[in-house]
Amino acid sequence: MRTDDLVRALVADGPIRERPLAVSLPAFAAVGLVGTLALFVVVLGLRPDIGAAAQTVRFVLKPVEMGLFAALGGLLAIRLAQPGSSTRGLVAGLAVAAGLLAAGVVGELVAVPAADWGARLVGSNAAVCLASIPLLAAPLLAATLWALRRGAPLHPARAGAAAGLFSATAGATLYGLHCPDDSPFFVAAWYSLATAVVVVAGALAGRRWLRW
C-alpha cells in the first residue's frame, strides 16, 4: 500500500471519536470501583467501631494517605499514557505522600513506648490486609488497564505500575475502613507491601497488554 493510499484511508476515517484519557480513564475506573465496592461490602464491611475510630488521628491518616497516593497514581497513569506530558510534578507529589507516611511512623515512634512497637507493627490481621488490598484492587486494576489500552504509553510497564499504584491505594483507602489496625507502623509495613504486590502485577500486565 502506498503512503498516499494510507493517508487517504486515515482522512476518510474521519474526525476523532476517542475521548481523552483524562475523561475515559476516570469513567472506566468508576466501573471498576463498582466491583471493588461490591467486594468490600460482601467480603469485608465496615469495622464495628468505625464511629469511635473516626475520632482518632491514626485512623483518619489512613484514608488521607492512601487517597493521596491513589489520586497521584491515577494522574500518573494518565500522564504516562500521553506522550509529551511531564510527570515530574506527580513524582514530586508521590515523594511528599511517602514523606507523610514516614512522618506518621516518626510520630508513632515518639508517641508509643518501644516495648509496644513490635505489637503495633504486627497488628491483629496482617494476613487479611495482604490478601484484601490486592482483592479490592483487582477490579480497579482491570478497568484502569483497559482504559490505558486507549492511550499511548511509551513505557508500558511503568504505565501498568502506575495503574497498580492507583488501584492498590484506592482499594487500601476502602480497606482502611475495615481494618482494625490503625498504627502508622502497620500501615507503612503491610499496606505498602500489599501495594507493592499490586504495582508489580500492574507492571507485568502493562508490559504484556499496554504495548501498541
Binding site: M1, R2, T3, D4, D5, L6, V7, R8, A9, L10, V11, A12, D13, G14, P15, I16, R17, E18, R19, P20, L21, A81, Q82, P83, G84, S85, R150, G151, A152, L154, R211, W212
Partner: protein
Amino acid sequence: MSKDDDDWSRLMRLAMAGDGAAYDRCLRSMASRLRSGVRRAVTRAGLAASDAEDVVQEILLAVHLKRHTWDAARPIGPWLSAIARHKTIDALRRRGGRAGVPLDDIVDILPAPAEEPAIRETELVRALERLPAGERAAVTAIAVDGASFSEAASRLGTSEGALRVALHRGLARLSRTAQERT
C-alpha cells in the same frame, strides 16, 4: 522545527474538529518530514533503506489512532517526536536492527522533505491480506481504490455506516498486526 510544528498543531486542531482537507495536508507534511529522519535511522541500524517507508506508515497509523492522546493546548511537535521515536525503535528491534542507534533527530532537525519512493510491496500490504474479509474490503476500497463511502458501499453491498466501522476496525488491526510481527 517550530514552523512545521505550528502548522501541524493548527492543522491537527482543525482535523480533530472534522476538517478533512486540513488532516490530509497535516499527514502528508508529517510523512515527508518523517521520511528522511526514519531513512537515516534505518540505515544506521544496518537495515535496508527500503524498510523506511514501512516505518513511516506505522508512525502515520499510530498518529491517527492515538491522536486523542495529544493535548491540543500544547504544540504537537514533542508528541509527534515521541510517537515517531517509539515506533521507530520498535520497528528496528523487530527487524533485528542494531540497538542503540541515536534517534533524537527523527523529526528534530531540518531535512529536505522527501518524496515517497516508487511503488513496492510494503509491510502494510501483507498485513492487509491478513485482515478479516469485510475489513480488508473496506480498507482496499477506500485506500487503494480511492472510492468514496457511498460508491464503495453500493459496490460491496453494505451500508455506509457499516463500511465506516469496518474501515476503522481494519486500520486499528493493521496497526496491531504490524506491531505483533516478529
